[in-house]
Amino acid sequence: MSEVKTPKKLKAKKMNRCIGCISCMLACARLVHHDYSPVMSAIKIRSSGGLQGKFVADICRGCQMPSCALACQTQALIPRAGGGIKYDEEKCSGCEKCVEACEVKAISFDVVNRKPIVCIQCGVCTGNCPHQVLSMEDCNQC
């Protein structure tokens, strides 16, 4: 019997090792959203309590029943097997309802193109982290 490939999702489990270089953000912006600016990144690294505090990652948590997809009236966002969403930009009306719906504020909005900046769980960011802070893991793995 062939093995079923389990979908993976992004985890930021080793944030204590993060140096705040934002290489992950720049990679997401550059390779997924074709923009130089980290504003266009779906993963967001920031400090909590200033640089004397810790770095934290605001990321899509890959919900099993994503509120963003439930809020989307045009089926641009649909739940993805194993968690998170699939995004079809063609169908997106730019209504921003997904942005409001996300409980952890992981979706920001590209005001120029009137589209949400969503994580598609592609894992590009993980390959650009010099400290292996980020990883793509099986959805049910803790």
Binding site: I19, S23, R30, Y36, V39, S47, H131
Partner: protein, 595 residues
């Protein structure tokens, strides 16, 4: 950015609370960073009026590669130095380069003086003037915290601010950048203070679509790999620049106890290895640099029985030298406490440390006494150095007020110029390697070891090969001008060779040849000399205090006659370059007259 048709300049007039945006096509000939900043400085500098006159400009500038290529992370500040009166040039990292780039401006020019304290909010949406009355009088940590909590843009912003040092116009006050980096040297903080400018929150909230995908992505990836997978930058990642402490000590190149020695008997206690083993708690990086060279140590202090406070403090070679070896302090925790104290007040750590070295020896020799210091000081006495710093900030008496003008001023007034570790009016950095270092800091545009890397030339060049020393100093300064147009971190100078620079620029649609880049580097070299002369710096009157010749370097003791001879050769060389340059670069009759 430069991918557009011109350099976008944001001019903020604090007196009128007015903002003007211009796009200058002519400035694209200077790439960005220091190239552009120097041109603007030429236009706005005020040689004939007071250093703190409201017309004196502050220029912050980034380059076209900023943040969008690895390790192109710095911002250059150009201004008239309150400390030396001549060219002020300083570099800082962390979030500032990213933030400026994505406001959509290449260069920020600030003139005028606010009526009462303000701070600025700059984003892609424009500029907002904020009252800073409650922040005036606060240190860099607390004022930074308040600005952070009052403003938006977490993760995409930079918060730069001054402490009480800048407010009180102490001439070696710096500007704190995102807590752990600084426009430390040459007194930009005092200039901020003179303008009632407490700080700036810069939010890089703009976007910039990538034009030609293929070449850019490929070049980015190649550079990223070289940065992360080769040993080109290993030293900066591992122990950081404190890796230099032990080798410098072993070669008699580590200025110690006001340069009475060039080795520290307790170097092993303050080495990069010792800090890493006992104090290092984390490293952080500038935005867009996967190296993470900013080493953070834990300062831990017991203030009562079983009661502790802790502060995460950044350290590097220069700081360990300035408030460690140079004042004979061997306890790491004490070094961290002095760094923290200086940085909270917003002073430059190198300048303050070097000055405290001079104070200690002047006191030892009886040139200054109890009536001046109102305390006893000996090399190594960490707690007393903290008191001295507080006394400078609090202007405790006339002596401490005089210290706010820097080491040279104090030494001229009280005596002890012979042992004041000052070159070109600027307190030295942490190297005593030989003639290239000595001359390099004396003649370098910002009187820094980073102008021309003299300390490295001393380690690779025959001591007696004077022509070679001069040649290398000049070539290195010209090469660094190119890097500084792109404001690439100088730690990545081995990654960004000229071919890589050309390729990186081409990847974003900017086409320069090797010759064009080299001509630009030379032109900036010439222009800086021109500016320094216009602001009163005389290369022929450079003096080398006796102390530099009394203490061994890695090549043994230097002698003053040789130093003078080298200076003479250097001056002849730059005269040649400037004569050539007149034909090439002088744009006005006045330019020609200045040479």
């Amino acid at each position: 950015m430069l991918i557009r048709n011109g350099i976008r300049i944001l001019h903020i007039d604090l007196s009128k609370e007015e903002v003007k945006e211009t796009e200058r096509k002519d400035l694209t000939d200077y790439l960005g960073g220091i190239g552009v900043a120097i041109q603007l400085f030429k236009e706005y500098m005020q040689p004939d009026i007071d250093i703190f006159h409201e017309k004196q400009p502050i220029i912050l500038s980034v380059g076209p590669l900023e943040t969008i290529y690895p390790v192109a992370t710095k911002t250059v500040a150009v201004f008239r130095s309150p400390l030396t009166g001549e060219l002020g040039e300083s570099y800082a990292g962390l979030r500032l380069g990213l933030a400026i780039r994505f406001t959509g401006y290449d260069t920020i020019l600030i003139t005028g003086k606010a009526k009462r304290p303000v701070y600025l909010n700059i984003s892609s949406k424009g500029v907002v003037f904020r009252k800073a009355e409650p922040l005036w009088g606060l240190d860099t940590e607390e004022s930074g915290r308040i600005m952070r909590e009052m403003e938006s843009g977490s993760g995409l912003r930079s918060i730069i601010r001054i402490g009480q040092g800048g407010e009180k116009l102490i001439k070696y006050a710096g500007v704190n950048v995102d807590t752990y980096r600084h426009f430390g040297r040459l007194g930009l903080g005092a200039l901020f203070g003179s303008k009632y400018l407490k700080g700036i929150v810069i939010i890089g909230d703009g976007t910039e679509s990538i034009g030609s995908q293929k070449e850019y992505q490929k070049t980015y990836s190649e550079i990223y790999k070289r940065v992360t997978e080769t040993d080109a930058m290993e030293k900066y990642h591992d122990l950081g620049t404190t890796v230099n402490v032990l080798p410098l000590n072993d070669m008699n190149g580590l200025p110690t106890k006001n340069l009475k020695q060039s080795y520290f008997e307790d170097a092993d206690k303050v080495s990069g290895e010792a800090f890493a083993e006992e104090k290092l708690i984390r490293k952080i990086a500038c935005s867009g640099c996967p190296i993470g060279c900013i080493h953070i140590a834990l300062y831990r202090n017991q203030f009562q029985q079983l009661e502790y406070e802790y502060i995460p403090v950044a350290y590097d070679h220069e700081l360990v030298f300035a408030v460690g070896t140079f004042i004979g302090v061997k306890d790491k925790n004490t070094i961290l406490s002095i760094i923290d104290c200086i940085e909270k007040f917003g002073l430059d750590c190198i300048t303050t440390g070097v000055m405290m070295g001079w104070i200690t020896e002047a006191y030892e020799k009886g040139i200054i006494g109890q009536e001046h210091l109102e305390l006893d000081i000996r090399f190594g006495d960490g707690g007393t150095y903290l008191e001295i710093i507080h006394n400078i900030i609090n202007e405790k008496n006339n002596f401490y007020k005089d210290l706010s003008f820097g080491t040279l001023y104090a030494a001229k007034k009280y005596g002890g110029e012979d042992f004041a570790a000052v070159l070109g009016g600027h307190e030295i950095a942490g190297y005593h390697t030989g003639y290239a270092n000595l001359l390099g800091m004396a003649v370098g545009a910002r009187h820094s070891h980073l102008d021309n890397g003299g300390y490295a030339i001393d380690q690779t060049t025959e001591f007696s090969d004077h022509e070679q020393i001069i040649q290398k100093l000049i070539e290195e300064e010209i090469a660094r001008n190119i890097l500084n147009c792109l404001v690439i971190c100088l730690f990545a100078r081995n990654i960004y060779d000229i071919d890589t620079i050309i390729k990186a620029l081409a990847g974003i649609g900017i086409h320069w040849t090797e010759t064009e880049l080299k001509v630009l580097g030379k032109k900036i070299f010439y222009q800086k000399i021109q500016i320094k002369k216009a602001l009163g710096f005389d290369y022929r009157k450079i003096e080398f205090p006796k102390r530099f010749f009394e203490t061994k370097t890695l090549h043994g003791k230097m002698d003053s006659e040789t130093a003078k001879k080298l200076l003479k050769i250097y001056n002849e060389k730059i005269d040649e370059i400037c004569t050539d340059a007149i034909g090439l670069f002088a744009e006005t009759k006045q330019d020609k007259r200045l040479i």
